[in-house]
């Protein structure tokens, strides 16, 4: 039966994320953006709330909560409402441990997951995006070729979150360079592996506070045991879909932030003797921003729901949701800036920051995971 009511557990998680966003994230967002950094204390605080490890299995030391893409979407929206960079930094370790949890071999789970259940924020990440204009999840240029009992990886990655000092990397590559989701495999690579060259800190237009870097893979040898899921590999389409749902939910959070701020501004700002919110040019824009943010949220929920139910059209739903969100969030944040007029362009107000962050959605894939 169709319902739009989160469960009690989901509401609890949503409230927890919202409180954290209001009290811990939002107040620091501007300084983090200007300083190109997220304080360790924020990462640690989010870690302690169980944002990453609550769903890890009990036998590895996690809380064993049921993993749900819909629940993840609720949390991602709230965190991204606070700040997108901080949200992505907090969840970076999940880019590694969730795929391991979902499709790793027993040995891989036993080896890697316990670290994520310890008290200290564990720096792990994944490398998916590549530095070329035609980057495409379904046609990765990073190649993995089997030679003897190992795979040899060659290629380049970029936008690797927390990549400078990560302990573990999950590197995605195309088997023998073949296109198609079915040919994408994940490889677990530890810090210091020979052939793994960590590049410099990247300088990007937005999500500046999130540390990202390039990786170069030069004949990087990975033992067959460290291919995610072993010989069987993993369902990369599903991993990518979950990531798309999370990003769509985050886009909804960023869009809502901009809409709420612009709405308040339009009510307070008086021109020609009345609040500018009374002008239809402004009011109509705000109304549309509001339902567009809602539309992104509902698309994320619906796609997440199809994935939770392992339905056949889950992949398609996730692709459509993300495609929609990429455009919608850019439009909303642009309107938010426009409503503030000249003030919107000034860095004293957050709307320009949200515009810069929103522009990233259409560019990055696989930077978010539930």
């Amino acid at each position: 039966m169709v319902s739009f009511m989160p469960s009690e557990d989901q509401k609890m998680i949503q409230d927890m994320a919202r409180d954290f966003a209001i009290n811990e994230i939002r107040p620091k967002a501007r300084d983090c953006d200007e300083g190109d950094t997220v304080p360790e204390s924020v990462l640690q605080a989010g870690w302690e709330l169980g944002m990453v490890n609550a769903v890890l299995p009990a036998e590895c030391g996690g809380s064993g909560m049921e993993r749900s893409a819909v629940t993840g979407a609720l949390m991602c929206e709230e965190l991204a409402w606070g700040d997108l960079s901080i949200a992505l930094a907090l969840l970076s370790p999940a880019l590694f441990c969730y795929p391991v949890m979902e499709c790793g071999t027993e040995q891989q789970k036993k080896t890697y997951l316990p670290k994520f259940c310890e008290a200290k924020f564990y720096r792990a990440t994944s490398a998916l995006v590549e530095p070329q204009f035609d980057f495409d999840l379904s046609a990765l240029k990073t190649k993995a070729e089997k030679k003897g009992g190992a795979y040899v990886l060659n290629g380049a990655k970029c936008f690797v979150p927390l990549g400078l000092n990560a302990e573990q990397y999950l590197i995605w590559a195309a088997l023998d360079g073949k296109p198609g989701y079915e040919n994408v495999a994940g490889f677990i690579v530890g810090r210091g592996a020979s052939g793994l060259k960590i590049g410099e800190r990247e300088k990007n237009m937005g999500i500046k506070a999130l540390e990202t870097c390039e990786l170069k893979l030069e004949n990087l040898e990975v033992s067959a045991d460290n291919r995610l899921g072993g010989e069987q590999g993993c369902d990369f389409g599903r991993v990518a879909s979950l990531s798309k749902v999370a990003l769509t939910a985050m886009a909804s959070g960023v869009g809502r932030a901009s809409m709420e701020y612009a709405k308040q501004y339009a009510k307070d700002r008086v021109a020609f003797g009345e609040p500018i919110a009374h002008r239809q040019a402004i009011a109509f824009m705000l109304a549309e921003m509001s339902w567009e943010a809602d539309a992104m949220r509902l698309l994320a929920w619906e796609a997440g729901w199809t994935l939770d139910k392992k339905m056949e059209d889950g992949f398609k739903s996730a692709c459509l949701a993300k495609l929609y969100a990429d455009q919608s969030v850019m439009w909303i944040t642009d309107c938010g800036l426009q409503i503030l007029g000249g003030h919107g362009y000034i860095r004293e107000h957050p709307v320009e920051l949200w515009l810069r962050n929103a522009r990233g959605f259409a560019t990055f894939e696989g930077l978010g995971t539930v």
Binding site: M1, V2, S3, F4, M5, P6, S7, Q10, V70, F133, D134, F135, D136, L137, S138, A139, Y181, G237, A240, A287, E288, S290, W291, E292, D294, A295, M296, L298, L299, W301, E302, W305, T306, F315, K316, S317, C319, L320, A321, L323, Y324, D326, Q327, A362, E365
Partner: protein
């Protein structure tokens, strides 16, 4: 629990109506468009037979109009109904068949909805029983005037009490199924009129006017861009006298406008559902044409690497989904007794924009075929 699965009953009904839409509505869609205002007898008689047997659709009407309950804060567990959701699904399916023929169904419609929402048991019996017997009938709702559209508080049609009658004077326009209701069948129209102009909104009441009442005249039937299967009438009231107990709801000037407006909270998501049905029809036609011609649509690739066709088609799909989700949310809220005024309005506003865009894109993507009247895509854009 967040859930997007229709109930088994809803799915069955959807399937049944889909068959009807495919078999009967599509067959007549072009003819009805070419022959504006001509009744499609086969369709009307078939539907009348079907609906009459189901109590003129009064069963579902009864539940449809459940007004959004106040006092949402109540802790008491409320039972969530499913009537609005059910109707959303039905209306989408019927409109997938044809948006005009759907409105031309012999059905109590908006007029019946108003009676169900605010009528006394006696009024329900007197006005709605007719939908279970005799020949096909319609009922309409008359709100808009030449000088008052969305600004319904500016209504200038007057109702004055004289002895044991209300006397109505004024002009109503854009009355959906107006001619069917009051001239071509033994139906009725519910008209909004003010009993006290100085009271503004509080003075506006609904009055039920029977078919062929002296003093009421259909002065015009509009020629429209689309939705031609459904008549859109202008109705003039000139010293039109109706019985005193043909007023709906409380005759006191203080009360009532909120109830009257609450009707829209229930009907806006249905208008959205209708548009979604039309948009889906257009989308599916494009998908079919692409498939027949072997044009691939590759999900999951980077938007930068898609063809322009692929990108357009996927955006049409995403826009349709977004519209449906917003409209379902509003319907679900109504079923759950949660005040949905904003969500119902947003659903209709978003959907109107999205479906106009989707059908326009469908015409564009199908090139000369889309513009041709050989297939229905150009009609869906006009609808």
């Amino acid at each position: 629990m967040i859930d997007f699965e229709l109930t088994a009953g809803q799915k069955n009904m959807q399937k049944m109506i889909h068959g009807l839409a495919q078999g009967m509505m599509r067959k007549w869609a072009r003819w009805a468009d070419d022959n504006e205002h001509k009744r499609v007898d086969e369709w009307v008689n078939f539907m009348w037979g079907a609906l009459k047997g189901m109590g003129g659709g009064m069963g579902s009407m009864d539940k449809k109009i459940k007004p959004a309950a106040e006092g949402e804060g109540e802790k008491k567990e409320k039972k969530v109904g499913s009537q609005n959701m059910q109707l959303s699904v039905m209306v989408e399916e019927l409109s997938w068949g044809d948006g005009g023929l759907y409105l031309a169904m012999p059905f109590p419609g908006l007029g019946g909805a108003a009676v169900m929402a605010a009528g006394t048991p006696e009024q329900k019996e007197r006005f709605l029983k007719r939908f279970t017997e005799g020949s096909p009938k319609w009922a309409a709702m008359a709100i808009t005037e030449p000088g008052a559209g969305s600004d319904s508080a500016a209504i200038s049609t007057t109702a004055v009490k004289e002895g044991d009658k209300w006397v109505l004077n004024g002009e109503k326009i854009f009355v959906t199924a107006g001619k069917n209701s009051v001239e071509d069948s033994e139906g009725f129209v519910v008209a909004w009129a003010t009993v006290d102009k100085s009271a503004g909104r509080a003075g506006i009441k609904s009055f039920i006017v029977e078919h062929h009442t002296p003093g009421m005249k259909v002065t015009k039937v509009e020629h429209k861009l689309g939705i031609r299967a459904s008549d859109t009438a202008a109705i003039v009231f000139e010293d039109c006298k109706i019985p005193l107990d043909n007023i709906l709801g409380n005759p006191e000037v203080k009360k009532g406008f909120r109830d009257v407006m609450a009707t829209f909270d229930a009907t806006r998501p249905m208008v959205a559902a209708s548009a979604i049905g039309v948009g889906r029809a257009a989308l599916e036609e494009v998908q079919k044409q692409f498939k027949d011609a072997g044009v691939p649509v590759r999900y999951g690739m980077s938007a930068n690497n898609m063809t322009s066709r692929e990108r357009d088609l996927m955006m049409m799909e995403a826009q349709l989904k977004a519209s449906r989700l917003l409209s379902w949310r509003a319907s679900w809220m109504a079923d759950a007794g949660i005040h949905n005024n904003m969500e119902a309005s947003a659903a209709k506003a978003k959907t109107g924009k999205a479906i106009t865009w989707i059908t326009q894109k469908a015409v564009e993507l199908l090139g000369p075929l889309g513009y041709s009247r050989k297939i229905l895509v150009e009609k869906w854009l006009r609808d």
